[in-house]
Symmetry: C2
Subunit: 242 residues, 2 copies
Amino acid sequence: MKHPAGPAIHAVHPWIPGNRDGGTRHQLLSDDERAQLAKIATIVRFDKGGEIYAEGAAADAAFNIISGVVVAHRSLEGAEHVISFLYPGDLFGLSEEGRYANATRATTAVMAYRIPLAAIRRILDNNAGLDVNIIIKLCEELREAQRHAVLLAQKRSTTRLAMFLDLQEHLQVARGEPVSEIHLPMDRSSIAGYLGMTPAALSRAFRALASRKIIASGNLHNVEIIDRDAFNALAYAHPKNS
Amino acid sequence: MKHPAGPAIHAVHPWIPGNRDGGTRHQLLSDDERAQLAKIATIVRFDKGGEIYAEGAAADAAFNIISGVVVAHRSLEGAEHVISFLYPGDLFGLSEEGRYANATRATTAVMAYRIPLAAIRRILDNNAGLDVNIIIKLCEELREAQRHAVLLAQKRSTTRLAMFLDLQEHLQVARGEPVSEIHLPMDRSSIAGYLGMTPAALSRAFRALASRKIIASGNLHNVEIIDRDAFNALAYAHPKNS
DNA sequence: CGCTAACTTGAACGCCATCAATGCTTGTGG
DNA sequence: CCACAAGCATTGATGGCGTTCAAGTTAGCG
């Protein structure tokens, strides 16, 4: 991951039926597409906690993460609602309407490609192969947003937390990282914002799962699932899949 | 709307900066694209309450609504979470992975074009102009899913209801329908499922808004906003827009 | 016109928000 | 390397709000 060849977009393929929950992400861009994008993209760096763009600002570029984690959020009168967590291989700053629909902030140190929107539009108009891949990526983001909504509709905070941990674990698998422990790079208040609850409630939810011997967490950013059956009973109240 | 020329997809344009909340939807397909799709599409009809496809079923076709309203939902152990309401001009059955990710049901009588997925893929590969429009549509669906998540993160049921009514009103404006009253074609339990609460709580929320003279509803499927300022104070706790 | 399903209303319980105080850890400067 | 400070995370007590279950009412459909 030192010297990447250019922007990289990862997604699971929406058409090819994969194993339901073991869906692996593929690189969507060909080598020359990456090279083409690399010519117009610049590499930008953000410190931990740094703002990438503000909600409502004029949208002039999209971003493609090289390393680090970004959190997309909207601030609504005091409280901050987290829209999504973005990882390397993700593309953001695209699904807007002339202006950014939400703010983004680096939740760890971040390196990213910055791709001017005008260039993207130009490529979309000329290049036939690229846009199908963007469609695939958008489908993935859409499915994730809908999963997020399902998560938020749950009433018990332990259920929401279990579903969140399950989601993070799946993402980790898809990225090809080891999964003995679930890694949570973001801080507690970001997780709370994503789950639609307060940090206090989130802390209690962690404690509840830990005291029921379902999870164990040494440090703040790592969680291990001990009782997989009890965990699944919480997280999979819904899709009878797998 | 009697004899349509073929499938029609409506969406607000994500790039052209429109007036923020007065965003009007445009027809995304050219006449010959519609004609081309009409050749491979069949018209199907569903009774009120009829299932269009089940969650997890093999996805073999997408649908484009001609008339009526469809509700996309996922059943999680008893409770039914509503993902979205789909109106004429909407496209669904697309953002999946070989299988449908959620079930859909006609919440009113529905007429729709049924477009085999294989045909869509074939067109996407050959036809350069069509896929940009699908990207636009996907961006719109994505934004809506994210708005839905923001709505679900609200704690007070009256806030969620107000945000929902606001959303429905905007959709009605975008469709070019009169807006003196907000029309709600779906039944209460579908709305409750969309808002992540029980029908009982939804009923109380309606009553609360009515007794505070913010809304008035004669019949079950029509609501009028009486006190616009108080309504906006509830529904717009967040985007400092327009 | 009667039936059935949907919606409303009521009472009690439980969960989460709130507010505030304490404990921990991260980073900074001595 | 240690001490300190500032944020972040946890914990405690209380109250409000929505769920639950049940009964009553309305509306829609044959």
